[in-house]
Amino acid sequence: MKGRRKWKLAVLVCGFAVYFLVNEPGTAHAMHIMEGFLPLGWAVFWWAAFLPFFGLGIWKLNRMTKDNPDLKLLLGLSGAFTFVLSALKLPSVTGSSSHPTGTGLGAVMLGPLPMSVIGSIVLVFQALLLAHGGLTTLGANAFSMAVAGPLAGYGVYKLIMRTSERERLAVFMAAAIADLTTYVVTSVQLAAAFPAADGGFAASLLKFGGIFAVTQIPLAISEGLLTVLLWNWLKSYSPGELALLKREAKGGFSK
């Protein structure tokens, strides 16, 4: 069992290493920035920003599953939810389509760091097979979806739980904010790489924000509601399990 986990981790790390090496000339990739659409410098910059979080995520995952193998199921669940939601391309009010990220649930259950690994697995799948996002933009896309989103969602969850103890509201907000933050960060990344000749960064941010962030608002609400639905479902069928696992996941945190 232990050997198998090490082996799996090794495969994962090797995969990313090879991927990183192959893309060395131009590396940086984010959720929804298309392949080749970030200039080389920015691509490298976002890869560099993302990798430390990925490393921390691997370390965190390793320690969590070593302390409590039961958490693997929670891990699988978080990954699965991200898989489902990021496959759903929904129409939005701007007349274009986008998809939710599904990272908020995992951030609430496991904390933000493990999501940096789970989220990037989804991104690699989509970049390699679906020409959705890309390898050169993976650093930037992973930073927005797998790092910034879960961090923001987790922060909001903590804040609401501390002030009001309203768990469902906290879960809803965490999911919606994680979703929205992802696309706000994407807009910032694109605006930084492509400042408008007239108006610079701010003008570009407005433009990309209109495309990504505004499209995402109704989707973020949908994602929040779907996350609460799953949360309710899990709680009604297995009141003990979720609370137990969550407490254990948190226990791994404070150390």
């Binding site: 701007t94 274009s96 986008s98 509601l225």
Partner: protein, 97 residues
Amino acid sequence: MSKWKNAAMLLVVVLLIILPLLLVNGEFGGADDAAEGAIGEIAPAYEPWFQPLTELPGETESMLFALQAAVGAGVIGYAAGLWKGRGERRSAHAKKN
């Protein structure tokens, strides 16, 4: 009570999907394609310097998206079922003692 709340939430999600389709006159292309257009406006000289390694036919792509969702849904169902079973066994056990 909670059942109604859940149904209401589901209804809102469905409405959030249907209403844009009915009320907004758009192509509903991907937001990433729209961004591509915006980059073309801001920096007309910019050429993407890296191409996707694979460009699958649209039908195959939608199959993979469906597969992605199906795998995810399967795992969620497995986890929910396992916890339900464990919870039931635990409460049955508690009753006996």
